[in-house]
Each structure stands twice: as C-alpha cells, then as structure tokens.
C-alpha cells in the first residue's frame, strides 16, 4: 500500500508537470517503473476512482502491466542480442572429413608446414612435441593441428650363435608426432628452425616438410574393399 500511495502521488505529479517527461526528481517514478504513455492512459481511468484501489495491481489489468519499449523511446531494441552472437557454423556430419585447401604460401611466408618428430621412445617424442607446440604458442605462430601418426613396429631378429635359426632379439616401436603450423615468416623461419634443431633431445629425429595431399591422405586407414571396387571399375 505504500507503493500504491507513492504511485498515485507520482501519477498526479506527472500529470501536474504536464508533458515534461522524466527529470531529476524521479525517485517516485523509479519506484513505479512506468512510462509517460501509461500515465497518460491511466490518468483518465484514475480520475474516475476515488477509493484506494489501484487499477494497475488489480486482476485483469494485463494491458496496463506490460511495459512496452516503443520504437521512438530510448529503450527500443533493449533485449536484442542475436546480432552480437557469432553465427554457428553448420554442424558437420560424423565421418565427413573436410579437405581444406592447402595453403601454398607467398614468397615471404611459408604455407602449411609439418614438423615431424620421430623416435623410439614414446614419452620423449610426446614431451618434445609438447615443447614445440608451446614454443609456437609463445612465439605467436599459428598451430593448425598436432597429431600422431600410427606407430610402426619393427622386430629385430638376430642370427643365433649355434645354428641357422633367427632368434628374436627385440621389438622396436617407432613413434611419430606431427605439429602442423602455418604463417611462418621467411625471416623468422631461420631462427625458429635453429631453435628447434639445437634443442632436440638425444634419439629424436626432426623433419620439417611442406604439407601435401599425400601427407593428408596418409593419415586415413586403407580401405581394401573400396580399392577393389575401384580396380574393378578401371
């Protein structure tokens, strides 16, 4: 009822002040949270009420409870946010791998480069690949991808001392990690390559090549049925 009292006071003062709109002595209006238009509408209704009933809070006052942010008012478009959110890319279906155009690069910048790190020790390769990735991040070189190639297993057979049989000596697994970068400056490439080379741990081989279609296709598994069908077609 205190609020109702304040409201009536505000409405009547608003009516008394005429069409001046909001001004500094607006704490009553702040409590009300109403527009001038509503005052104008409610004004005529209130004139006919003498009891303490406030039509705004009575049941059925739907038209009067809405606060419209009209086009000419400063609050127009107040709730808009879709224009700020980036549009979502269409969701790729599972299994479809996009073949992006391979960036060949200009005369002053390299395109997509692959840094291959090959070693027999998996923990060492992974830790060095991590180091290279962090180094690129720190030097603001864009890292497109960082992936692993499948492990190659090699069985080392040694000739037995007595007899002709080959004896299994050891099993060696070769691990390969690839860090794919793009946008390397020609002037900076020299320094970067030297840093990577001088920091190589023992046992890790380094190979820096440009990314090609074969490199991309080499990551996929061989599909014998598809190859058979293609051979039959040709």
């Amino acid at each position: 009822s205190i609020q109702a009292g304040h409201e009536r006071g505000g409405e009547e003062s608003g009516a008394a002040r005429g069409r001046r709109g909001y001004n500094a002595a607006a704490d009553i209006r702040v409590l009300c949270l109403k527009n001038d238009t509503i005052f104008k509408q409610a004004f005529s209704l209130l004139r006919f009420r003498t009891s303490g009933e406030n039509p705004v809070y009575s049941a059925g006052g739907i038209l009067l409870t809405t606060s419209r942010h009209y086009r000419s008012k400063p609050t127009h478009g107040i709730g808009r946010y879709k224009h700020l959110v980036k549009p979502e890319e269409p969701k790729k279906k599972k299994g479809k791998v996009e073949i992006r155009a391979i960036n060949v690069g200009t005369d002053y910048e390299y395109g997509t480069l692959n840094i291959h790190l090959i070693a027999y020790d998996m923990a060492l390769t992974e830790s060095y690949a991590q180091y290279v990735h962090n180094l690129c991040n720190h030097l603001s070189i864009k890292v497109e991808e960082s992936y692993a190639m499948p492990t190659k297993t090699m069985e080392v057979l040694q000739l037995q001392d007595q007899g002709n049989k080959m004896l299994l000596d050891s099993v060696l697994t070769t691990h390969e990690r690839v860090v794919q970068i793009s946008g390397l400056n020609a002037t900076f490439a020299e320094i970067f390559l030297e840093i990577i080379q001088s920091n190589l741990p023992e046992g890790v081989k380094l190979s820096v090549r440009e990314h090609t279609e074969e490199d991309f296709k080499g990551r996929f598994k061989a599909r014998p049925e598809l190859e058979e069908l293609l051979a039959k077609l040709n």
Binding site: E190, S198, E202
Partner: protein, 277 residues
Amino acid sequence: MAAPTRRTVLGLARCWRRFESPWSLGSRSLTLAAAPSNSASPWRLLGALCLQRPPLVSKQLTPMQEEMAALLQQMEIERSLYSDHELRALDEAEQLEKKKSDLYEEKDEKNILLVQDLEDMWEQKFLQFKPGARITDADVKNDRSSLHRKLDRNLILLVKDKLGDQDVWMLPQAEWQPGETLRQTAERTLATLSENNLEAKFLGNAPCGHYKFKFPQAVRAEGSLGAKIFFFKALLLTGDFSPAVEKGRHVWASKEELGDYLKPKYLAQVRRFLLDL
C-alpha cells in the same frame, strides 16, 4: 582515423613497388641491397658467412639435473608394472624353487634359454661396449683449428684476412657483385674457402646480422666511405679443411673464445645472432 591509415598503406605500397623491380628476375630471395640508387651509394657491400658446426654430443647434466633424473627414474620404477621379461623371470624362479623342494614332476622344458642366461648374455655385451670419449685429443691439446673439439658446443669458423695493411680475424666474407643476391655472395665465400670440401646448409634467405664500419681516413677513396657486412648463417653438414691449407689462417671457435680473436664492436654485433644453448 581513415586518412592516416590510408597514407601509411600508400607508403607501404610505394616501398613494395620499389623493391619489386629486382625481384622480377623470379628469384625468391630477399636482398636488402636492392635499392635502385646503388650506384651513388658510398658504402661497399660484403656478404659474410657464419659457418656453424652443430654440437655432436649433448651437454653434460648439472649435478642438480642428475639428482632430479635419478629421482624421477626411481619414482617411475616404483610405480611401474612388471614387464613380460620380469614376469618370465618370476615364473622361472618359482619353478626352480619347486624343483628344489622335490615335489616337482618332470615337465617338458619349453625354453632351453632361461631368463638368467639371457641376462648374462646382455651383461656381457654391455661390458664390451665402449662409448666414445667426450673430451677429445684436440681438447686436451687445445688445438683450435681442429673440427673435432668441444663436441657439445657450437663452433664457428673464423679466418684471418688482410684488411688494409693489418691482419684481422673475422668471419669469412666476400665482396658483393651486382647481379647476385647477398646469399649467393655467402655461398661463393663458402666455395672459395675450402675449394668445395665443406658442405653447408643455409636455413633461410635472410641475413641474421650486419656490421657497418667506416674506413680510416687514409684508405678512403671518393667512392667508398665504408663497408657494410651482412652475415648469413649456415650449418656445417660434412667436410673440413684439407690439411694442405696453411695453419694459422683459420680457427673453429666457440662463443667464449670469439672474444680472443674478434675486435670488440664486431664481436658485439656477431654475438647478437649467435644462439648457444
């Protein structure tokens, strides 16, 4: 805001256009000396070669690093699971115990070779292996012109050349001839140095450093005020000076030893692009 950015873009475009003419030959190299007003410039241009022999052996660990490595190794062993070999060893130990206790029934021996025998064989092989020496003869004798010294550091080639009437130690250099890029000048230096014994890999087309100096008044001619030297880095792959070359004219120096040979200002500029880890 738009006007200054437009002006800078135009300025950039003008610079690019000026640099474009020498590159119309189709070469993919960056030449810093391609200014069209070259004929009037009083500076002589030289391309120098910083030939580095990369380290062959990794550096020795500091005491703290060694302790840490030992600790991590111990932790790893304590946390790890048994490998195939170790499981076999445990099985065979059990079988031996059973045999001793006389409750054992004779089973066919699957493996003639026991784990213990394998381990003995490996131990023998390990004792026979001798790793190479870290400190070579050349280190002991401090023979600086040998390539086989300081295996864990970068070594740079320095030569003694006549500059004016003095013998000065410097990085090998050659005068730039019009029509070639500065990197080709550096490659020419490499070829003339050793008569094609040294093979090096250039990592990029851009120079890694420069040094500018003015000639003393006596030597100054009308055309030449001084010289600008551009350094190019290359990594030595194979090859060395043949022993026929006279001693005392070249030296393979590491970063600290450079100070013994080079002049201070030259040294300061050279130090800036040397990466020594």
